[in-house]
Amino acid sequence: MKLKNKIQAILGASLVLSASACESYLDVNENPNNPQDAPISGLMTNITYETSLNVYREGSAVSSYVQYLASPNPASSSDTMEPLNFSSLWFSLYNVMTDLYTMNEKAEAEGALQYLGAGQVLMALNLGMTVDLFGNVPFSESFNFSTVTPAYDDDQVLYGNVMSLLDQGISNLQATSTSSIGNDDFIYGGDIDSWMKFAYTLKARYMIHMKGDAGYSAAEVLAAADRGFTSNAENAQVIFFEQRFNPWAQDAINNANLLLTGWISEQFIQALDGTSYPTVDPRLALMVGTTDDGEFVGTVNGAGRGDAPEQGARSTLVEGQYYTTRQAPLLIATYAELKFIEAEAAFETDKSRAYTAYLAGINAHMDMLSVNSSDKEAYLADPSVSMGADALTLDDIFKEKYVAMFLHPETWNDARRHDYGYKDMTLPDNINPDLGGEYIRRLAYPDSEVSRNGTNVPSVSLLDRVWWDQ
């Protein structure tokens, strides 16, 4: 009996104790690795960093379509314009837009209107890039987990969002803010004036895409251009780090290490080496490497390197040039680009403004690459370059913009608007037979979307054009 009592007492006591202790003992599920919340400035840091990488990722994806780069291997599917799975690019774009959505919400709640304004500008940029690649994409039902299968919005409607985000961004950047952007901003380090100019430059960029559409106004483009960048010093860019090299530099390093990548297309080489045009462009030697014999030899898209060895026989990206220095800037939008947009917008109405802007664009890019003045003058003096306002053609503007926008994804938008009308540009070897002898007009929706959001994904072919490319 005594023993039984003892047992009962112990059991009773331990049950009571354990019942109360249990709850707190088990309350250990808060994530020790990931915080529940993050400061606006931390989001800003990652957003600016990742946005620049998105420009790289997109540039990397489309550089073979515009024949900046070519694969060393024959019939490489990026060269031959086959449908590729861009799931990771899609993820990166939506990942940054999700962070932007979150940051903008927080910034609005806190009255941190500078952050909100910059956030809206970058949201416009990332959304614009996404629409330009894929056409209709999810946006209005996105980022807030209201559904696991967000609907796809019309691409033309989304361009309205891009424009209004830029306008809101401009307005918020000028408003009184509870906190100021600083070194957490990898693009401008908190320089609001530059942010404003960046926003106007982007307005010009996205409006010029609409050329030919009912809503297009050359005057509006020119008005935006007037308030955009005024020099290379205002270029939107992220300067890379000792701790993390510029990704184009990394490609050049990898290629040197025989992880083959960054081979230059014959199209690009011949546009600059005097083959397609009468002049030899002094920028060529500052942008790409030579063969062991010191020559510029490109690779034909889709053909591969043939019998050429892996090194020394073709031009590739090489470490240490403007685009490929370890701590080189990764360019998001440049003064040169704006000048060519201005030239194109003014072309119909004001030839002389167009011509001035065209020359300013070439100058800006040459300055950026630090072309020495005699080479620069010689190039600009060539009649095929300085043809005069009356002789200037759209082809000339697109050609010089093509050079000035080396590796930048905006060139694919230009190529599609210009119907791939670059001099001597030909379809790649071994082109995807499904294209029926035409150039690619959009990217296929990524496998991840098809498998996860299949009912909403529009059925498209690679020849279906985005709305502004009709």
Binding site: L3, I10, A13, S14, L17, S18, S20, A21, S24, Y25, L26, D27, V28, N29, E30, P32, N33, N34, Q36, D37, A38, P39, G42, L43, T45, N46, Y49, A75, S77, W90, F91, Y94, N95, T98, D99, T102, V137, P138, F139, S142, F143, F145, V148, T149, P150, N183, F186, F241, Q243, I253, A256, N257, L258, S448, E449, S451, R452, N453, G454, T455
Partner: protein, 1028 residues
């Protein structure tokens, strides 16, 4: 608060320790067979109405402590009539057992290390003994289970030293591609960690942690298969449990056992390769070409610098294994002890791969009185080695020129010797990844029995390990003209600390109501905690070449991942036994998990099972020895991983940059309303024995449905997340298990025993949550769009492999499964047309698998062999895809042939167009570009999704034990020498390396992708066992 809990336990401890101790009685004796008077080793002795028992040693001797003179001892042995004898005042009880007659009294160790009569079980369980475990000399005890247990599928992930093996019981129970579906491993009543932590980068063939246990220390392993068998271990045993009982000291003289084994490994099988064409492309020789074998005909070149090098033989070494183990055990009536040391050294067939394990174990039992006893054990192990990047090794072998000697890999100055491509052996030697694991597993057991119907038991188990890993890839040495493995080089230091704590307290109440009714009730509390912390620091870009330290790098990134998981369970287990022929067992358990939302974190699940020994109830013909029917129904709950609920932010490891730390929204979102998973299983079975146990049969049907599966569902990135962890579906597994065994011949000294098992499994994805169409489990790369994906869809089986195929015009437009028998469409170019439309090309889950073990003994000789097989499955042969891309497969010897592909052309008529298979311009003047294999063949997944069935001679062993009359003249008590071979015969339709190997490691569910993993090996061993 945690303190309170610990206080409670301490209080209980104090209470237990304060109980006065009483003396008890020891009974010794010898058990022999009536027929020949030979001793019966391994016979069971059980104190009736208790779970206390022992077994006889090799000479048939036993010793057991009994509580009092009223105790009744039950002596039993398979194939013999059991005997019950009252102890009375006897201290010696010699027992003679008669062959034949009724029962099949076999004991099996079940939950909490409790030895239970197999006869009383209402569910299927199977055990294997120490000899079957150590015969195959597998250093990893998971491998030792291969082919031996019905319903258990063991897959070697490859032949690397220390490489993981995967064990799955009754099919995959989770839709989660990354879920670990392996059973819980329990050593001496305490669960231990069996996780496999793969390397972050290229696969390295890491170890599953149960391999830290020395197989020589194991007495038996039982496999508890259904949920019924594992209800008492709770959520962690939802996939079954492997119960390991280690060797214990026995009463009697001190015994010393020494075992030494030397083994050699070789590549078991390689793909059929062409040896006629060398380095180059388009039939043209080029000694610096990237292309290893699309070049010129070697015979035509007739140049000593351009000959076939047989690199696939040269690149692999003969692996070596040296395994030594020493144990000392003994004891008296009061206490027993067992101590052992083990050392295993292994070198793999891939150069520079090695692994070693040092183990030390000490265990003991103390019987303070007939009421109180305690035992404890501590097991230390140190393991690790250099893990070569096997996947990358074989990939680089693929790229390596067939006309350049791969083994000539290094220049005098230490740089790589190469014509351009990376030499695989150089990479294996210098791109190192070493792990060093120190682990201590300990447990303490206390049993206090104040009266004969009541017992308090407490078990405390700890399992701590630290895993220290260093990965180094050198950068350039700064020597002119060198080709470095990496342009910067890097060092990655990883430190893992894992601590498991298990506490289990239970009370056993027994009552014999009358001669018919016997009951036993067990009530308990179980607490589990795992703390895990992993820190990784990576430095790249070495300043001083060859000096490998983090502080010698210019770019350093660090990351940390830690977790805590806690579980508290309360359980009850009632066993009712009516007249020793009807057995009912009811269990209930409530678990509370720290990983689930608070409102859903407590969950109850019951089980019931019934065993009916009808042969004791009816008059059976004399040849019908034993018959039992059993049925069970059980549920088991399952929680999830710690720290996954809700939305969080992450700081990408690239930061800090310029002193700034960025944050990004985590792309994984854990449903805040997550519920526990629930698996419901039913099982029916029968156990039969005939002709005095000369033949026995065990048949089980099982079906389990895992509902409310917690799955990270991939969702549109546009939602703001990429992965949504929620309760998303149900999967069903069903099948039969057959175990048939017997002794077909027993004449004089000759005996032949055979055991065979066969398992069938069918599974189906019953439902996927609305709004989610399919779940991608995994995919593996193939050249030219041949990438295959494993996708789950409602109504389809688990394990379907999707990929590209040839166009077949007669296939239904909505067909989802490839029908290979239909005619192919031949394109206008004369080659078969391909479609990227993803069809089901095969299924990676075997429909049948099993094994047969035969054992012949004659006097001191013993010959045994184990054959196992699996069939009804397909796998993706990534290796085959690579071979065809690089012109290395045997079939590419046809590269100068002109053929007409069978099939129809677009208008439906038979194809007649002749085409050349080679590269460049053919004899017909047409330019064929990269040729048939590169242009067409390699891009069609169906060419590489092939039957992966096999039949293996898993092990054959010939042993001789010295006979007693010889031993008497030696100082030894026992002496045995054996020679064994593993995997020496392999029959399979698979063209490639051993189809069993896969590159992903044991941790996940993405089966069916063989990858370029470490190839399987065949081994030869000589083993010497000596006993003093």
């Amino acid at each position: 608060m945690k303190k309170n809990y610990a206080m409670t336990l301490l209080f209980l401890f104090g209470f237990l320790a304060s109980i006065p101790l009483y003396a008890q009685q020891t009974v010794k004796g010898r058990v022999t067979a009536q027929e020949d008077g030979e001793p019966l080793p391994g016979a069971s002795i059980l104190i009736q109405g208790t779970s206390t028992g022992t077994v006889t040693d090799i000479d048939g001797n036993y010793s057991i402590e009994v509580p009092n003179a009223d105790a009744i001892l039950v002596f039993s042995f398979i194939g013999f009539d059991s005997k019950s004898l009252p102890v009375g005042s006897a201290t010696t009880l010699d027992v003679v057992l008669a062959t034949a007659a009724s029962d099949l009294d076999e004991f099996i160790v079940t939950a909490f290390g409790i030895s239970q009569e197999k006869k009383s079980l209402g569910y299927a369980a199977q055990s294997i003994d120490s000899e079957a475990i150590t015969t195959s000399r597998q250093p990893n005890i998971v491998n030792a289970l291969q082919g031996q247990v019905a319903g258990v599928q063991v897959t070697n992930s490859g032949g690397a030293p220390g490489q993981s093996a995967r064990i799955i019981i009754r099919g995959i129970n989770s839709l989660d591609p990354s879920a670990d579906n392996q059973p819980l491993f329990v050593v001496d009543g305490v669960p231990v960690d069996n996780s496999t932590v793969e390397s972050g980068g290229t696969p390295r063939g890491m170890t599953n942690r149960i391999a830290d246990i020395n197989p020589n220390d194991i007495e038996t392993m039982s496999v508890l298969k259904g949920a019924a068998a594992t209800a008492l271990y709770g959520v962690r045993a939802a996939n079954g449990a492997v119960i390991i009982t280690t060797k214990k000291g026995k009463v009697g003289q001190v015994q010393v056992n020494f075992s030494s084994s030397l083994g050699f490994d070789q590549l078991v099988k390689k793909p059929e390769l062409q040896d006629q064409y060398g380095q180059g492309f388009s039939g043209v020789r080029n000694d610096t070409s990237f292309w290893p074998s699309w070049g010129a005909n070697i015979a035509d070149e007739n140049d000593p610098n351009y000959v076939y090098q047989d690199n696939w033989t040269r690149a692999f070494n003969t692996g070596k294994t040296f395994d030594n183990s020493l144990s000392i055990s003994g004891g008296n009536e009061k206490a027993t002890f067992y101590g052992s040391f083990g050392r295993l050294d292994q070198e793999g067939i891939i150069p520079f791969s090695d692994w070693a394990r040092t183990t030390a174990k000490l265990s003991g039992t103390v019987k303070m009185s007939e009421k109180f006893n305690f035992s404890g054990s501590i097991n230390f192990s140190n393991s690790g080695g250099n893990r070569v990047p096997h996947d990358r090794f074989l990939e680089r072998m693929m790229y390596w020129s067939e006309t350049t000697d791969v083994a000539d890999y290094i220049n005098e100055d230490g740089t790589m010797k190469t014509y351009g491509n990376t030499n695989p052996i150089y990479d294996a030697r210098f791109a190192t990844y070493e792990d060093d694991v120190n682990r201590i597993i300990g447990n303490l057991n206390f049993n206090y029995s104040p009266t004969d119907w009541l017992m308090f038991s407490y078990r405390l188990g700890t399992d701590f390990y630290s895993d220290s890993r260093t990965e180094i890839t050198p950068g350039p040495m700064g020597i002119d003209g060198e080709q470095a493995l990496s342009s910067t080089g890097f060092i990655e230091e990883t430190r893992i600390n894992s601590k498991d704590l298990n506490s289990n307290f239970y009370i056993t109440l027994k009552k014999q109501w009358n001669s018919d009714w016997n009951t036993q009730l067990r009530l308990g509390n179980d607490v589990f905690e795992r703390r895990y912390d992993r820190i990784t620091a990576t430095g790249s870009n070495f300043v001083i070449p060859g000096f490998y330290n983090l502080s010698n790098t210019t770019q350093i990134f660090a990351s940390q991942g830690k977790s805590v998981r806690r579980l508290v369970g309360f359980y009850g287990d009632l066993m009712v036994d009516y007249k020793n022929f009807l057995f009912l067992n009811v269990t209930g358990r409530n678990d509370i998990s720290s990983t689930l939302p608070k409102e859903n974190n407590s969950f109850f699940y019951p089980s019931v099972n019934l065993g009916y020994v009808f042969s004791e109830n009816f008059d059976m013909p004399s040849w019908f020895t034993f018959g039992k029917l059993r049925a069970s129904w059980a549920q088991v709950g399952k929680d999830t991983n710690p720290h996954i609920l809700g939305a969080t932010f992450v700081s990408p490891s690239v930061f800090p940059l310029n002193g700034q730390v960025g944050f990004s929204k985590n792309s994984t979102f854990g449903d805040p309303a997550l519920k526990p998973e629930k698996t419901t299983s039913i099982e029916f079975g029968t156990q039969l024995a005939f002709f005095n146990n000369k033949l026995n049969l065990d048949v089980t049907y099982y079906k389990s449905n895992a509902q409310d599966q917690i799955i990270p569902v991939p969702i549109s990135d546009a939602t703001g997340f990429s992965s949504y962890i929620t309760n998303a579906g149900e999967i069903e597994n069903r099948g039969f298990e057959f175990v048939i065994g017997g002794t077909p011949i027993e004449r004089g000294d000759f005996r032949w025993d055979v055991t065979a098992n066969l398992t069938t499994n069918r599974n189906e994805v019953k439902s996927i949550r609305e709004g989610i169409d399919q779940i991608v489990v995994g995919s593996q790369f193939g050249y030219g769009g041949a990438t295959v994906t494993m996708i789950l869809k409602e109504g389809e089986a688990y394990g379907n492999i999707f990929g590209a195929s040839y166009v077949r015009p007669d296939a239904a437009s909505d067909a989802t499964v490839l029908d290979r028998s239909l005619t192919q469409l031949i394109g206008a170019n004369g080659f078969p047309a391909r479609t990227g439309n993803q069809l089901i090309l095969g299924n990676a889950v075997p429909k049948f698998f099993g094994g047969v073990r035969n054992q012949f003994t004659y006097k001191g000789f013993e010959l045994s062999f184990l054959i196992d097989f699996r069939t009804g499955l397909e796998q993706y042969d990534q290796f085959g895809n690579f071979l065809s891309a690089f012109g290395k497969q045997k079939d590419s010897e046809r590269r100068n042939e002109t053929v007409v592909f069978p099939g129809v052309i677009a208008d439906g008529s038979q194809n007649t167009k002749a085409v050349w298979l080679g590269q460049g311009v053919g004899p017909d003047g047409v330019n064929y570009g990269a040729g048939f294999w590169r242009n067409t063949y390699r891009g069609v997944s169906e060419n590489f999704v092939n039957d992966a069935s096999f039949l293996k001679l898993r092990n054959i062993t010939l042993a001789y034990s010295l006979q007693p009359q010889v031993l008497e003249k030696t100082p030894f008590r026992t002496a045995r020498i054996s020679v064994a071979a593993n995997n020496i015969l392999l029959s399979t339709p698979w063209d490639g390396f051993d189809p069993e190997s896969f590159s992903a490691g044991a941790g996940g569910n993405a089966i069916g992708f063989t990858g370029l993993g470490f190839p399987g090996v065949q081994s030869y061993f000589v083993t010497l066992n000596l006993g003093l």
